[in-house]
Structure formats: structure tokens, C-alpha cells
């Protein structure tokens, strides 16, 4: 069907109202596609501006090189320290943050009296809403000196400080998503377990939690996404030196590597920063894919 036939079938001349309706439909379709367009633009821009440097430097040297000296006379662009820092930092945040978030969510979903739950919902909302630079600021003034004194290291701005800040920052999303999943567990499951003689605590942990498993995994993966993408807060507490990561050294994450050099970068260094962003983007896409699998898996059950 070509355009003329289509227009004839629609009979717009005699139905100006229909023409208006169809135009409005089209406008809304275009507005809906803005999100799709944005994703495409972001992907294309990151690939186009990130790939050249990777190819110039060599994928292996770029990804597995252990030295980053972008402004040296003979610059080296190895981002393994950043990748490992991001992975260690995220893992640390998950190890500390997820258990706290998980137990808090179980309590809030199953045991908390109404008043406590209302207050806690506000607390979690505030925790989620606090700007990341404020976390960074508090980390800078309390955590960094605290770690220096407590562990006797020369500088408290370390991976450890970043891990703690990240653990706090992922708490709200871990709690909220697990809470929703736990609340969605059918009451009958729990009643059956109680009727069989399990105590209420046993019921919550052995029946409700397994039933909400996919939701809780989603919460963890979401937490990973948050932690790996955070930039400003950890830039203020992690010291920002391109070391191979260990708990009490000053480190640089993938995000902070981009943020800290962007403003004065040029040439290959600038291109390499875009390549780092591309690597970060791939990590995020991987996490998104896992989230999607979890979601469809949860639905089909």
C-alpha cells in the first residue's frame, strides 16, 4: 500500500477530525521514541569515541596494562588498576551493604510495627535522596581521618573508605527492592509454614525469603549497578591515585578515572578516557542484561 492509497483509505478530506487524531497519535509516538533514540545516541557516541583509542593502544595493553601514566613523556594507558578497583570496591560494598540491607528489609517487611515502618520508609527515602557529594563530604571529614587514626595508615583516603561510602549508598535501593519482593510473598505460604509448627522467624527466613529470591537477587544486582556507576562520592574519599587496588592504598575507579582527568585532558589521553567510559558502559549493560534475565525469570515462575 503506497502513501496515496493509505491517504485515500483514511479519507482525511472529509474527516478533518481523524487527521488531527492521527497527527496527535504520531506526536505521542515520537515522544515515546525519544527514550529509544537517547539510548541509541548514547551507545553510538560511546562506541565511536571510545573505540579508536582502544585500537590505537591495543586492546590487550589497554585492558590488562597495569600502569596508567597518561601525562607522562611516554604515556602508558593500562586500565587494569581501574577495572580491578571498580570490581573490588563494588564487591566490598556488596559484602558490607547487602547483609545489612537484607536483614533490615526482612524486619521491615515482616516484623515491624506500622509506626516503625513509616519512620523507616522516610529514613530510607532520605538516605536515597542525599546527594552523593554530601556523602563524599561527610566521608572526607569523618571517614578519611578516622581510618588514618584507626588503622595507622599515612593517608585515610583509601579503597576502604570508598567501600564504606558505597555500602551506605547502595543500602536504600537494596532495602527498597527486597522489601517490595518480600511484601509480595503470598500470605498463604507463611500461614502454611506457621501451621506446620515453624516459628515466625523460621517462617520469614525459610519460606518468605526463598519465595522472594528473585526480587532479592534483583536488589543485589541493582546495588552492584549503583556502586559501579558512582563517581563523585568516591572521588572525594578514595584518594584518586592510579594504584593497583588493595584495601589501604589510594585508588582510582573507572568512574573517577574519567571524572578526574576529563577537565584537562587532550589528544590520546582524552580518547582513552572515552574508552574507559565505554568499558564502564559495557559493565553497566552486562548488569542490565542480568537484571532483565532476573525479571523475566521472576515473571515466568
Amino acid at each position: 500500500m503506497n502513501l496515496r492509497q493509505y491517504l485515500a483509505a483514511k479519507d482525511y478530506k472529509d474527516n478533518p477530525g481523524r487527521l488531527a487524531e492521527d497527527i496527535i497519535h504520531l506526536v505521542f509516538l515520537v515522544l515515546g521514541l525519544v527514550a529509544v533514540g537517547s539510548v541509541l545516541v548514547i551507545t553510538v557516541y560511546l562506541v565511536v569515541s571510545g573505540l579508536p583509542a582502544i585500537l590505537k593502544i591495543g586492546p590487550v595493553e589497554f585492558l590488562f596494562g597495569t600502569r596508567w601514566a597518561s601525562t607522562a613523556a611516554e604515556p602508558e594507558f593500562g586500565i587494569l588498576p581501574f577495572i580491578l578497583t571498580s570490581i573490588y570496591g563494588t564487591a566490598g560494598a556488596i559484602i558490607i551493604g547487602v547483609p545489612i540491607g537484607f536483614f533490615a528489609a526482612v524486619y521491615l517487611a515482616k516484623m515491624a510495627p506500622g509506626k516503625v515502618r513509616k519512620v523507616m520508609e522516610l529514613c530510607i527515602g532520605v538516605l536515597a535522596g542525599i546527594p552523593s557529594v554530601v556523602y563524599g563530604l561527610v566521608g572526607m571529614t569523618i571517614l578519611v581521618p578516622g581510618i588514618r587514626i584507626l588503622f595507622g595508615v599515612p593517608d585515610g583516603a583509601t579503597l576502604f573508605a570508598a567501600i564504606i561510602v558505597l555500602a551506605v549508598m547502595i543500602l536504600p535501593s537494596v532495602i527498597n527492592v527486597s522489601l517490595t519482593a518480600l511484601q509480595a510473598v503470598p500470605r498463604e505460604y507463611e500461614e502454611a509454614s506457621l501451621a506446620l509448627g515453624a516459628t515466625s522467624t523460621e517462617t520469614y527466613f525459610r519460606v518468605s525469603v526463598p519465595a522472594a529470591k528473585s526480587g532479592i537477587f534483583t536488589a543485589i544486582v541493582l546495588g552492584i549497578g549503583r556502586a559501579i556507576g558512582e563517581a563523585m562520592a568516591i572521588m572525594m574519599v578514595a584518594g584518586n591515585v592510579a594504584n593497583m587496588p588493595s584495601l589501604f592504598t589510594s585508588v582510582r575507579f573507572l568512574t573517577t578515572a574519567v571524572a578526574s582527568e576529563m577537565s584537562y585532558s587532550s589528544g590520546l589521553q582524552r580518547e582513552a578516557l572515552f574508552s574507559i567510559a565505554l568499558v564502564l558502559f559495557l559493565f553497566i549493560m552486562l548488569i542490565n542484561a542480568v537484571l532483565n534475565v532476573l525479571k523475566t525469570g521472576g515473571k515466568s515462575r
Binding site: 509516538l29 525519544v34 537517547s38 560511546l46 527515602g125 532520605v126 543500602l171 563517581a231 574519567v258 549493560m285
Partner: protein, 286 residues
């Protein structure tokens, strides 16, 4: 009953419960500590001079009036642009779309957008808006970047409230002979205005707390401008100013004063969203 439970089971239950209480206490203490500490360190430094003047090299004083105005400008600009797009997209998904593939594609895109870290938005915003559209480092470029970041939020909240509009409202209006657009404009949208407002509040919260995406797109100048001039020139929002004062200039008192302002705004925004949520629940219950 309790007596017949074996000791092992009882200890297990006790431990689990204890973990729950400890975790909850930690979360509460942490929130309380963050709020009180920031207010305690920041409030004494919030003075009229800080709020109402521009930074002056001559008198060696710091004022955050330009940053406050920049924040207001960027919030207004972002909302003006993101609202029609986000609400429109939600309306398309909920009212018009008949092709499942298209719906899935748009929803997938929105989800992807909400997972992308702000530093990447900052970079791409810089490449696309500052360089490709040659807006330069300006509040407008920052606002456009924030539009894309907040699009999923507005879409989701609007869509959720569109779903709660009873089908009978639409059918009633159709039965009276109204066209689709008229039904949406006069029946559906007014019914879901609360959801759109909630989306706006959430978006304002995100814009207030955003820093990484704005650092490269909106820059960090502290000039006092009107709205139109301000949009086309670089400027720091409160969060960016906080970062600059704390990290690069070591002015912790100023940073904490800004942090206190942001903290108060965060609490207000949360109270508002909770209130809106209750309002919507009550109305849907009726």
C-alpha cells in the same frame, strides 16, 4: 509452645532476629547521624551574606546566590523540557500503543536509561549538547542532559498513575462521542495529575543531587545571571559548588553550609513524595 522447640532452633531464631534488629538500628543511626552531623556543621555557617551575595575576591567572601539561582534555573528548564516528553511517552505507552514490540522497546530503553551512571550522561551530554549542538558548557546543555536522565522517572510515575485511571472513565467519555485526544486531555490527564506531580518532585530531587553529569556539561562558574543569559552561560548548581568548595578549595564550612541546605531540601522532598503517595492511595481506595 516455645518450650518444645529445640535449643538449636531457638538460637538460630535468636540470631536471625538479632541480626534484623542490629541492621535496622544501623540504618536508623546512620540516617540520623548523617542528618544531624551535616546540619550541626552546616547550619552555623548559613548566613545572610552567604545566601545573598556573589563570591568576591576583593572582600575575600563567598556567597552562593549564583549557585542557588543556577539550581533554580536548571530545575525549571529541565522540568519544562522533560515533562511534555515524559508524560507524552507515558500516554503513548498506556493509551495509544497497540504494537507490543514497540512498547517493549520503549520500556526497555527507559529501563536502560535509568541504569546508566551519571558520569556517562555527563560525557555523552558534553559530546552531544556542548560540542555537536555547540551549546558550549552551559546550563542549557546541563538541563538537556538532565532531561534524558530524568525521562525514565517521569515516564514511570506517569504511567503508573495512568494505569490507575479506571477504564470506565474513558469508556464513558468515548460513549459521549469524544475523540481519543479529547478523552486524554479532559478525562485521563486530570485524573492522573497527582502521579505527574510526584514524578516532578522525584525529578527535582534527582536534579538537586546531581553533580557528575553537570560538571562537564554545565561547568562551575559562579556568575550572577538572569534566566535567559544564565541558560546560555556556564554555572554551578549547589551540588557542583559543594564539590568545588570541598575538593578543590578546601572551604569545608561553605561546603557544609551547602550540604545542610541540600539536606533540608532532601527531607522536604521526601516528606512531599510520601504525602503525595498517601494522597494517591487514599483517592484510589475510594
Amino acid at each position: 509452645m516455645i518450650e518444645r522447640i529445640s535449643g538449636k532452633r531457638r538460637t538460630w531464631c535468636g540470631f536471625m532476629k538479632a541480626f534484623c534488629y542490629i541492621s535496622l538500628a544501623l540504618v536508623t543511626l546512620l540516617t540520623g547521624f548523617m542528618i544531624l552531623y551535616v546540619l550541626f556543621r552546616g547550619l552555623p555557617h548559613i548566613t545572610g551574606q552567604l545566601l545573598l551575595t556573589v563570591p568576591s575576591m576583593l572582600r575575600n567572601t563567598i556567597g552562593i546566590l549564583p549557585d542557588i539561582l543556577n539550581t533554580v534555573y536548571i530545575v525549571i528548564a529541565t522540568l519544562i523540557i522533560v515533562l511534555p516528553i515524559g508524560v507524552g511517552a507515558a500516554i503513548y505507552l498506556n493509551e495509544y500503543a497497540s504494537n507490543r514490540k514497540v512498547v517493549e522497546m520503549i520500556e526497555f530503553a527507559a529501563e536502560t536509561l535509568s541504569g546508566i551512571p551519571s558520569i556517562i550522561y555527563g560525557l555523552v551530554g558534553m559530546l552531544v549538547f556542548c560540542q555537536f549542538f555547540s551549546l558550549g558548557t552551559s546550563l542549557l546543555a546541563g538541563a538537556l542532559t538532565l532531561v534524558i536522565m530524568n525521562l525514565p522517572t517521569i515516564m514511570r510515575t506517569t504511567q503508573e498513575s495512568l494505569k490507575t485511571v479506571p477504564e470506565s472513565y474513558r469508556e464513558g467519555a468515548f460513549a459521549l462521542g469524544a475523540g481519543k485526544w479529547r478523552v486524554i486531555r479532559t478525562v485521563v490527564l486530570p485524573t492522573c495529575i497527582n502521579g505527574i506531580i510526584t514524578g516532578c518532585i522525584l525529578a527535582i530531587g534527582r536534579i538537586l543531587s546531581e553533580s557528575a553529569a553537570l560538571l562537564f556539561t554545565a561547568g562551575f562558574a559562579h556568575n550572577l545571571n538572569g534566566f535567559i543569559k544564565g541558560m546560555s552561560s556556564a554555572g554551578a548548581t549547589l551540588t557542583v559548588a559543594l564539590y568545588v568548595y570541598a575538593s578543590e578549595r578546601g572551604e569545608f564550612d561553605i561546603a557544609f553550609a551547602i550540604a545542610a541546605i541540600l539536606m533540608i531540601l532532601t527531607v522536604i522532598i521526601n516528606l512531599l513524595t510520601t504525602y503525595m503517595g498517601r494522597l494517591m492511595k487514599r483517592r484510589n481506595g475510594q
